[in-house]
Amino acid sequence: MRKLLFIALAALAPVAAETIVIENATIMTVTKGTLKGSVVIRDGKIAEVGEKVMVPQGATIIDAGGQYLIPGIIDCHSHIAVDGGVNEGSVSVSSMVDIKDVIDPEDVSIYRALAGGVTTANILHGSANAIGGKTVVLKMRWGKDAQGMIFEGALPGIKFALGENPKRAGNPPGGRGANATPVFARYPATRMGVEDVIREAFNQAKAYKAEWDAYDASAARGEHAIPPRKDLKLEALKEVLEGKRYVHAHCYRSDEILMLLRVADDYGFKIRTLQHVLEGYKVAPEILAHGAGASTFSDWWAYKIEAIDAIPYNAALMQKKGIVVSLNSDDAELMRHLNTEAAKAMKYGGVSENDALAMVTINPAKQLGIDQRVGSIEVGKDADLVIYDKHPLSDYAKVQKVLIDGTVYFDRDKAVSAAKAAAAEKQKLLDKIKQSQPRQQPARRPNG
């Protein structure tokens, strides 16, 4: 009887939040130095970090002897997990659309990013529009539904874009007039036009905000006025003006970076991050003064004219000026090895090991306003952790396990066997379907 009861309790045990201890790891906390020791995880949070910890009874032990533990990698610029197109490219201001509406939690890129140590990503609308769509921060909780992926409490964002993409999208190659037949050319076609589109949109947004503020005030006085029409496009910009939505602006050249910072100052809103910002090193003091973060590439340049003046020292130079710098992927494949992207900042510009790692962990967390929750290994933070078999800034390091909120979402050993099982299952189905197919005779199917 007693034995039966014990078995029943044991079966129930994992239902409660699991306590996990990761032992014997080289722990790179990013914010509190590096140590050899253990991390205790309770209720999805980091409960204790130290050389010696009290192992709670019944805790699951993960022995990470000889291995490295870092906070989950955060990608500040990604387009994975989006269904039905990342660009609403038909209009120059597409702030009415929202990535949150089209999250694809079944995109295998999520799992692959996870396998590359990424636990959180800023999912951005594309760069086809001067003002693009609304954006969302996701945790790579592979297997959860769309709602379950959303980083709860993270402020949503909006994508802006400057330069070639927004002026080129929707216009004929070679510029306006290059095509003899009438085309639906989309304004703007120049960098001047991009600025104008942003200013015009915020003129509208200010008027819209004034209309709503007047209504809210009258409603507060108890008057029964008819509310103004709710406009999804302007609503998002109103949120920007109110500081309730972060602006993530795709940009390359120093002149357009300065332009955007001035436009933002004129209208009284902040640019939260400059994305790509490949000439940021030329205007670092201005970026710092505005308070914008910079999320850039490690060593990707000259792939188009506006990227011609990019240098791989960009991240290091901006960092030295005091800007919060992150390294992003903007790409489903690159996303899987952001650790080596961080390592390149050491090669180009001599960034310290810890500062390099910060560029893919705590710095993007700061940029996304989630650094109280993630980005470093500290007591009280979410247990979003990555175990590497070798030093994470090495080319040879492989991700062994990834935890999000204290739950193991990726385990290399299991991944290998699961891949084999899936392949076998697939072959089984292929054979079954092939067998059930009628022999391929001349088709006989009546036309309804």
Binding site: G85, N87, S90, D104, I226, K230, L430, P446
Partner: protein, 447 residues
């Protein structure tokens, strides 16, 4: 044929009432297009046209819960294969008669231009009684269709039609407005820059959200003005919003489980009663609990995923697409078991023998025969709120009946007579096999 005698009686037949128990041997009396009596011991009125149903079975007429029958030239309503998911090909809908008469719409620059919207269209106003598909599908036992305009994002409102051979379209209409058909499929694929708004799926969804915000505001302004116009600016008339406000429910496409989740949440945000259509992945274990949680009915396409014929051996098929082929027809059984209300729709399968084959697949995959029948009769009637007049063989209901030799979903069953509004129709002979070759799924595709 179809000259309806005042009183018809089918006697000595097995009667599958659907609403109640099966009557092993009984009589159905039809009077003025209605079921006057049904039972084991029913007196046959004098002067009735009597059909001896010995060895035959009477079923309620089948209801196709989502159809374009009656609108000639309309493409089949968006199918399970084109529900708007990524990587799914879309077939451009051919123009409906109404849309064809309209000039090409200018490029939409935002929701205010009401792109691809004909929400005010009523299928009842678009139907042509001479559409040859009426006779084709009726020969398979379909007596009633929920016919929808399907072109555009807000395509228009569906109507419930009884498939009689009529002089005037109006004679066919049981319910003029069932609800608004919404699709989110872009003919040329998502993400195009050259055409107008919306271009991406998120643009479609934003547009749907904006229209409902606009409709709410429109109604607010209109009501205030109607109450007391003095001192108020005259409200603008917007037929797109009128059409949206007239629609008492919306139909949204969902094939993948993630689309079911997405669309149910969208409808909840819009505070609109929704019916999802498509349901390709409803066999997956995640689907039924999700659908049950939102407690909304669904329409299941009978166009099951099929293995590609003569496939490119190098082309990679995902495990999911293979599972869809293998498990797809198990969806109805899974929904039935979970208690999710569902109805079938033919999804463009017009030929009776193809229809039987498709239903048979669901039965072979675990759906009880009576449940399959219910999903084609009483369930769609309940979903559309017309179970008081259609869907079962019951006194006082419309006399839509199918008289068969053999089980209605058996391939060798012979349909003797189909009654619609009490009018008897003999099924037309099907085209001989092998004559016309296989239909192609996509225009321009050669097999």
């Amino acid at each position: 044929m179809a000259e309806s005698p005042p009183v018809t009686a089918i006697r000595n037949a097995r009667i599958v009432t659907v609403g109640g128990p099966v009557i092993a041997k009984g009589t159905v009396v039809i009077h003025s297009g209605l079921i006057e009596a049904v039972g084991e011991n029913v007196a046959i009125p004098a002067g009735a046209w009597v059909i001896d149903g010995e060895g035959m079975t009477v079923y309620p007429g089948l209801i196709d819960a989502l159809s374009t029958v009656g609108i000639p030239g309309a493409a089949p309503a968006a199918t399970a294969g084109r529900g708007g998911g990524r990587g799914q090909t879309a077939t451009p809908a051919t123009t409906t008669t109404a849309a064809a008469t309209q000039p090409a719409a200018p490029r939409a620059m935002g929701p205010e231009d009401r792109p691809q919207t004909t929400s005010w269209l009523l299928a009842a106003d678009e139907i042509s009684p001479s559409d040859h598909r009426i006779e084709t599908v009726r020969s398979g036992g379909i007596t009633t269709t929920a016919t929808y305009p399907t072109r555009g994002i807000f395509a228009g409102q569906g109507s419930l039609l009884d498939l009689i051979t009529a002089e005037k379209a109006g004679e066919m209409v049981v319910v003029p407005s069932l609800g608004q058909y919404i699709s989110v499929t872009r003919a040329a694929g998502f993400g195009g820059f050259g055409s107008g708004f919306p271009g991406a799926l998120m643009g479609y969804i934003a547009y749907i959200r904006q229209i409902y915000l606009d409709a709410d505001h429109y109604k607010l302004v209109k009501d205030a003005y109607a109450k007391d116009p003095r001192g108020l600016e005259r409200p603008q008339y917007d037929r797109a919003l009128e059409g949206v406000l007239e629609s008492k429910r919306i139909l949204l496409p969902a094939n993948r489980v993630i689309e079911m989740d997405r669309m149910l949440r969208l409808a909840a945000d819009l505070k609109q009663p929704v019916i999802l259509y498509g349901m390709r992945e409803a066999y997956r274990p995640e689907a039924a609990p999700l659908l049950k949680k939102f407690a909304r009915p669904v329409l299941v396409s009978l166009k099951w995923a099929e293995a590609p014929r003569d496939p490119d051996p190098e082309a990679d098929q995902t495990l999911r697409s293979l599972s869809n082929i293998d498990q797809g027809p198990a969806a109805p059984a899974a929904l039935q078991k979970a208690g999710v209300p569902f109805a079938f729709y033919t999804d463009g399968i017009d030929a009776p023998r193809d229809l039987v084959r498709a239903v048979k697949k669901a039965i072979d995959a675990g759906l009880a025969r009576e449940d399959a029948l219910r999903a084609f009769t009483l369930s769609p009637a309940e979903i559309y709120g017309v179970a008081d007049r259609l869907g079962s063989i019951e006194k006082g209901k419309i006399a839509n009946l199918v008289l068969t030799k053999g089980d209605i979903f058996d391939s060798n069953t012979h349909i003797e007579t189909v009654f619609v509004d009490g009018k008897p129709y003999k099924p037309v002979a099907e085209a001989p096999p092998g004559g016309r070759g296989q239909t192609t799924e996509e225009p321009g595709e050669i097999r």
